[in-house]
Subunit: 313 residues, 2 copies
């Protein structure tokens, strides 16, 4: 393993991107040199300024601009990570082309979500597969990383209201009978998993599933009930909207269907689909537990995700 | 490993199917019990009758008929193999559904061709990926097998005409500069590879690339020139037709582009795409050499492929 890996990240100031930058900064072996590719208009964003203070090089980059410029920015870079929002997925094509031309040795496209089959279940997954298929066509070395569903999006409301401050998307909705197991990860662990995965030759040209816990929705609800002493009000899933203007609602329903009813987001199905298990690759990695996270939420110390609007995931 | 594996094959009387049935019949460990699913109208086909004499159970099956019937036919079957022609690919969907319901432990969709990326290079490959994506969606255990380009489709004409009897598609066309390496297999070895692969737990839910040799087109031509003492007339590839009614021509041009110019059909690219190498899995398997095949052709002992019209590959 190299002592220092040079990483360029697009979308570094989003929820996933921030976790990744933190995870890389935290790592001691290897050390990472981080370049955050940022839209010129975002150079002064608070998260970018905070990164800069911690040694991240913030660079203005126009992903839809001339390829030579991008190739120059990526020259000498070992790993390129995309944590772009779905609305910016198409920008991964020129980024991948530039990474190929610059001789980057690993490209990590934006996946960082639940396990799902390539086609026929989730529109958002199909968009990710389109990018993966393009990467395979240009023979660019890659690692695709999924992390299951976030702890931060697993917080139901309870009658006292004391969990509400921590979520904009209360997780009271139950898909099916609530018994389907699904991989869950603390978003703050995503970067810690990524730091391991991108420095590991075993994960080159592979899918990797990283997760902290595997729990059913009923188990999630029962855990919060036990910790809070309150009852979680269950809602039951309705049919997904198929209005194309309603994409985020559709995607959410498809996530619910895929992880809650089909049971796609499990270590077993991930293996069937060709994923390596990050839990097996790094048995010493201690991720967070949902219990600890719920205790954090109940003691009013949690930070709510999605407080900013951006094109970063 | 089980001592006897029960295999059902659809398209068993085509070129690939016949090789597979022969390969399975030839195997001593494990032994295979073979059921050939055949259209009612093909029960009396000479190849089917010949198989029947060798112990293959020939069964009339309507793949587009009621699923229960198919499930009944597949009950107790360990492995289902499709060697259907592209015109019948869609029939693999009900076959896969029935295999899933019947609890079949491995489904082998029809691939048996060159390595290529999932999307953007070959229409025929994309049709195969559609089937693979469906298989993944229903969580059906599978093995996808590619075998490179056939020796039997690698025979150029020479001035004396003594190779012409052995091919309906003379291989004088050179893609690019003819230096791109590509995996080649004797179609008669396909079944011998398949017999190994489908009895092997390491290949479950994996892509496998089986090939006898890796040679460039120039090497193929030079080999025949050396063996025959004659000169091979090279033709140079023209642009593929994009007339949708001209699918076979288009596919041929796309094969030529993919294996001859892009260089997709190589062990290295196959590994990148996630294939296991059958050569590494079975180092004792002695496949044919192109030299032996050309000697067979030059001594007038070769059998021409594609002498029958059918929906089997």
């Amino acid at each position: 393993m190299t002592d220092i890996l040079k990483v360029a990240i697009a979308g570094g100031s989003g929820e996933t991107g921030t976790s990744i930058v933190n995870g890389l900064l935290e790592s001691s072996r290897p050390k990472f040199e981080i370049v955050a590719l940022t839209r010129p208009s975002s150079l002064q964003k608070p998260r970018n300024l905070a990164f800069q203070e911690r040694g991240v090089k913030i660079v203005a980059a126009d992903l839809s601009g001339p390829e030579e410029e991008l190739v120059k920015l990526l020259s000498g870079i070992d790993v390129v990570i995309s944590a772009l929002d779905p609305s910016a997925f198409a920008a991964q094509i020129p980024l991948a082309n530039a990474a190929k031309s610059a001789g980057v040795s690993r490209f990590v496209p934006c996946s960082f979500a639940t396990v799902a089959p390539p086609k026929g279940v989730m529109q958002l997954r199909e968009m990710k597969e389109d990018i993966m298929n393009y990467i395979k066509k240009i023979y660019l070395p890659y690692t695709m990383i999924d992390v299951g569903w976030w702890f931060q999006l697993s917080i139901p409301t309870i009658p006292s209201g004391r969990t509400s401050y921590a979520t904009i998307m209360p997780a009271n909705m139950v898909a099916g009978d609530g018994t389907t197991p699904s991989g869950l990860t603390d978003v703050r662990d995503v970067g810690r998993w990524v730091a391991r995965i991108i420095a590991d030759p075993r994960t080159l040209n592979k899918l990797v599933f990283a997760f902290d816990e595997v729990l059913s929705q009923n188990q999630v609800h029962e855990l919060l009930e036990k910790l809070s002493g309150e009852e979680v009000e269950r809602q039951y899933a309705i049919k997904a909207s198929d209005n194309p203007r309603d994409r985020y609602k559709l995607w959410n329903m498809q996530y619910l269907h895929s992880r809650g009813i089909r049971g796609d987001n499990t270590p077993e199905y991930a293996k069937y689909l060709g994923y390596l298990s990050a839990r097996e690759l790094y048995p010493d990695m201690k991720g967070n537990t949902l219990k600890q996270w719920f205790q954090e939420v109940l003691s009013n110390k949690a930070t709510r995700v999605y407080m900013q609007k951006s094109t970063e995931a």
